[in-house]
């Protein structure tokens, strides 16, 4: 374990007279790995819920193959779930596991390299059969050939113990075997002193219609727990105290859940009906699923025939006065580009959510990446400026969704919200806000109901492109409003009247005006978010989106080593905060870590002529905090000249 000061605090006496010790840890990273069919994601999510309700801070990293069921027992079929939990606040799912649970040889082979020497390795001995070993190319059984000597290996027959526990359940062997993940969860729940009632309630709820399955899973879960208590295989259990958190009500939330709830809240707080037009795509589909559950809020969800129809229908709904939303991932954004430009030209509110994944093309559908920034910025024909924002953590997806809606409604413009696969599926504890504390967006709606101009002869007339002088937003007059009939469309519009115009001066004016409107959003977003505790750092790290956690964790390590570094994290990518240029100019060096090949760095260099040092990685996985700490340390040391002694890459967050 990498915990600091493991201290034997108490002995617990288990039935059978076995005396077991309890070790207190400040944090643990557990990785559960198995076959796609083994239910590792479910097990991980349950362990996460238990951990959340116990009060630890936590962060998760689900990692699963794009194939629904790759052949059983093969390397491509391995699915894993990593959970980092602690008695203090943490920012990442952990660079490397302290504990690896491998349900079969394939899971061992795919994950062992990530487990540092001395780490705890729990194996399902039953699955290490000659056949399964051969499938992944093990010539000998690693449990027996001594190759696992560098780790604390505990090999236990999880499958057969599950079958024994369910011998009287009436279930067939195959069905009973399925509960081995719950047996494992029970064992881990004992090991880490997790509360169990939540899981029992969950299983009862989940299998409401199949009580015999619910009973079997609960029996397996309890058997696993009891096994931990009585076996000699595990002499120690661990205690990780709850993390201090601000008083309030908490829940565990994933990014896609938070984003969906943010959209519901935006609809409720603006009074507008929400319309979602979407075509299923990983990792965005869960937003469609979640919003489809909330019809009681008057939310219309439309599973369109393709991504183009998804955005087109949302534009139609916005024209009619709804809060139009479309959700997708990178390939879908490509398809939506032309319609996105239509929304820019017609100046209608629209929220476009891109849950980024590895690209290009189909890329890595289930892995994370933040490589759609330039597509969001520039991926359209013509001068087509688009507001772009990004959330920084799963829970922050909630606030980002409300902010996207605020900009869209206030400025009558499409807004791109760039989430990613890591945020979407990752989870963390989230302080539940009270609805009345959320921004009130009703004032921004302001449908036009009366003519705002007059013709030469004095007849009142509606001018659909006569702008609000402050925001440059045009009036939003919805069908059904008498006397306000007007036509909009993709052809260039004359200023004020909105009639088709091919006039060169008008096109130049309108192009600049559309740009000025987006640039003007900066007036509503506040200054750059800079974290520089001492106020005199010479080096800054700048990031956007889901790298917030790993960068923050890396920065903490660097600071613990006595070095100074500022962390700048951007919510708004277009426009940037008004003071960003000045802020960047304060530092000798600025490092920009990104899960792409340097897209934000390119924008910052172009806009501010600052020599940004880009640090990039596109592995489909979040950055490791230690790696970032090392990069930042090198920059600091080469800037200040005198390297400090302590190595920032070691230790916890």
């Amino acid at each position: 374990m990498t915990a600091t000061d493991p201290a034997v605090t108490a002995g617990s006496s288990a039935p059978g007279g076995l005396v077991k010790s309890v070790v207190e840890l400040d944090r643990v990273v557990i990785r559960l790995a198995g076959d796609s069919g083994d239910g590792m994601q479910l097990t991980g999510n349950r362990f996460t819920s238990e951990t959340a309700s116990f009060g630890n801070d936590l962060s998760t990293l689900p990692n699963f193959p794009a194939e629904i069921r790759a052949p059983t027992g093969t390397l491509p079929g391995v699915s894993s779930f990593q959970l980092h939990f602690a008695d203090h606040d943490i920012m990442t799912p952990g660079d490397a596991p302290d504990v690896l649970v491998a349900m079969n040889p394939a899971a061992l082979k795919a994950n062992l390299a990530d487990l540092p020497g001395g780490g705890l390795l729990i194996l399902d001995a039953d699955e290490f059969t000659p056949r399964n070993l051969a499938k992944v190319g093990y010539a000998t059984n690693p449990i027996e050939d001594g190759s696992l000597e560098g780790w604390q290996t505990v090999s236990v027959p999880l499958t057969s113990m599950t079958l024994d526990a369910l011998a009287d359940s009436g279930l067939g062997k195959k069905e009973a075997e399925r509960s081995k993940n719950m047996f494992t969860l029970g064992l881990l729940s004992w090991m880490y002193h997790r509360p169990t009632e939540g899981t029992i309630r969950f299983l009862e709820r989940q299998f409401r219609r199949k009580p015999e399955i619910a009973a079997a899973n609960i029996a397996a879960f309890r058997a696993g727990y009891n096994y931990g208590e009585t076996t000699e295989a595990f002499a120690v259990s661990y205690e990780i105290k709850p993390a201090p958190m601000a008083p309030g009500k908490y829940r565990n939330i994933s990014g896609n859940q938070a984003l969906s709830l943010g959209l519901v809240a935006a609809a409720k707080r603006s009074g507008l009906p929400l319309f979602l037009g979407a075509y299923p795509i990983t990792p965005a589909s869960d937003i469609l699923h979640e919003l489809s559950k909330h019809k009681a809020f008057g939310i219309r969800t439309f599973q369109a025939e393709d991504e183009i129809a998804g955005i087109a229908s949302a534009i139609g709904a916005s024209f009619g006065g709804a809060l139009g939303v479309t959700t997708t991932s990178g390939p879908g954004v490509s398809l939506k580009s032309e319609a996105l430009a239509l929304a820019i030209m017609t100046e209608l509110p629209l929220v476009v959510v891109d849950v980024q994944r590895g690209g290009p093309s189909t890329g890595l559908p289930t892995k994370t990446e933040q490589s759609d920034l330039l597509q969001a910025m520039f991926g359209r024909n013509g001068e087509a400026p688009l507001a772009v924002i990004a959330p920084r953590s799963p829970g922050d997806c909630f606030d980002a969704a409300i902010e996207a809606a605020r900009i869209a409604i206030t400025y009558r413009t499409p807004v791109m919200l760039l989430s990613d696969g890591y945020l979407a599926n990752g989870a963390e504890p989230w302080q539940v806000p009270s609805s009345e504390d959320l921004p009130d967006l009703t004032g921004a709606v302001d449908f036009a109901t009366e003519p705002n101009g007059s013709t030469a002869d004095g007849t009142p007339e509606f001018l659909p492109y006569l702008r609000n002088p402050e925001t440059l937003a045009r009036p939003w007059a919805i069908p059904g409003t008498a006397g306000m009939q007007h036509r909009i469309g993709g052809l260039e519009k004359a200023d004020k009247t909105g009639n088709i115009s091919y006039d060169p001066e008008n096109h130049d004016f309108m192009t600049r005006t559309r740009q000025a409107k987006i640039d003007g959003i900066a007036a509503s977003i506040g200054p750059t978010d800079v974290d520089d505790p001492t106020g005199d750092a010479r080096v800054a790290v700048i990031g956007w989106g889901s790298t917030y956690g790993p960068i923050g964790a890396g920065v903490r390590r660097v600071r613990r080593s006595g070095r100074k570094v500022a962390q700048i994290h951007l919510r708004h990518l277009n426009p940037f905060p008004a003071d960003l240029g000045e802020v960047l100019a304060r530092y000798d060096r600025v490092v920009c870590p990104e899960m792409n090949l340097g897209q934000l760095a390119l924008l910052l260099r172009a806009k501010y002529l600052v020599d940004i040092q880009s640090h990039t990685q596109v592995r489909g996985l979040p950055f490791r905090a230690a790696e970032l700490a090392a990069v930042i340390q090198d920059v600091i040391d080469s800037t200040s000249g005198a390297p400090l002694a302590a190595d920032p890459t070691g230790g916890g967050e």
Partner: protein, 367 residues
């Protein structure tokens, strides 16, 4: 932290802002204006089709017939794609959106489902609806969203200056096909029926009465209505429909569809439609068949194979072209069913934001 329940909905708007905006505008003009004339539907925009284009005739017919529907101008929305025909909304004093190529049915779908109170129309061309927008067209039809689609078929790409279209006859010589086009055309009516359309009609631009009659039925139809309008492009495909328009040949080759009437056509009713041995339809000489064998047109037949068979009577050179309403059947509309689901959800559930923010599993950290 106190665990007392919040008082919900403080500061929330009293009424839905859409209804409030509509009500405010109606109040300011007294009441909904529905007694309108053709000129009330005209705009001050200069119409920019080529002189002699069939689009003018259709625009006039639509503007003349609309007042009879009794729909206020503000309650009507015309969404179009791209093409000569898709300029249509600019000339109509209603709400309108001239959108992007092929996507009008999808835009109209989003609008119609979120605003079932509106009368939503789509104006599209043969290229717009059947090439680039083919996918949206078929899905709008199968969903049966309450929209009326006017497909201006001139069998050519007008706006891009005369390339062949998906309805052009095989062998069409155009700039992009100097040796003649190779691909077989769509029959838009067959396509629509195959896509589960509940209303399909066909009319001729120059036939004011026939066009108005089909348009009226389409407008009154609940669900997606598709009207194929044969439209002359006098610049790039002039005379494409002369076989049907020319009084000398028109009666011979068009089959008027009148619900409840026998399908008899041609000079002196010399030709008729009868069933063939395989359950399809064929053309016969009226004096060669028993009167009882002549098919009586039934647009309301649930089974679409009859309407489909009717659509297959014509060939790509337009001989034996049925004109009128092929099919008009009632099915629940998508927008209404969606509204009903929302009503059920509202009755069974709640719209308490705080309840869903909290979810099923929360824990409280006290100070």
């Amino acid at each position: 932290m106190s665990t007392t329940d919040h008082v919900h909905d403080l500061g929330m708007p009293a009424a839905n802002p859409i209804d409030a905006a509509v009500a405010a505008s109606v109040a300011s003009q007294g009441e909904k204006q529905t007694a309108l004339k053709a000129k009330d539907f005209k705009t001050d925009q200069e119409v920019r089709w080529c002189p002699g284009c069939g689009d003018y005739v259709i625009l006039n017919a639509v503007q003349s017939f609309l007042p009879s529907l009794g729909i206020a101008r503000e309650d009507m929305v015309i969404v179009s794609g791209i093409g000569c025909s898709s300029r249509f909304p600019y000339y109509m004093n209603t709400y309108g959106m001239h959108s992007i190529h092929g996507r009008a049915p999808a835009i109209a779908t989003g609008l119609a489902v979120s605003r079932p109170d509106l009368s939503v129309w789509v104006v599209t061309g043969d290229g717009d609806s059947l090439s680039i927008g083919g996918n949206h067209l078929i899905h709008a039809l199968r969903r049966n969203v309450n929209i009326t689609i006017l497909l201006f078929n001139n069998r050519i790409y007008g706006l891009t200056k005369g390339q062949y279209s998906p309805t052009s006859e095989v062998g069409k010589v155009t700039k992009s096909t100097p040796m003649g086009s190779l691909d077989h055309p769509f029959n838009p009516v067959s396509l629509a029926i195959g896509a589960e359309a509940t209303f399909v009609g066909r009319a001729m631009d120059s036939d004011r009465k026939g066009l108005t009659d089909v348009l009226r039925q389409a407008a009154e139809h609940q669900g997606t209505a598709l009207v194929e309008i044969y439209q002359n492009c006098n610049i790039f495909n002039d005379g494409a429909f002369d076989l049907l328009k020319d009084p000398a040949t028109g009666t011979q080759w068009s089959i008027p569809l009148v619900h409840g009437e026998p399908l008899v056509f041609g000079a002196d009713g010399a030709a008729c439609v009868v069933r063939d041995d395989l359950g399809g339809l064929r053309i016969a000489e009226t004096n060669q068949v028993d009167a009882s064998d002549i098919v009586v047109h039934d647009a309301h037949r649930e089974d679409s194979s009859y309407a489909y068979a009717l659509s297959r009577l014509s060939s790509q050179d337009l001989r034996y072209t049925p004109m009128g309403v092929f099919r008009s059947v009632q099915k629940p509309t998508y927008d209404r069913m969606m509204s009903e689901q929302l009503d059920v959800a509202a009755a069974e559930g709640s719209d308490d934001l705080d309840a869903i923010l909290g979810g099923n599993d929360t824990w409280t950290v006290s100070a």
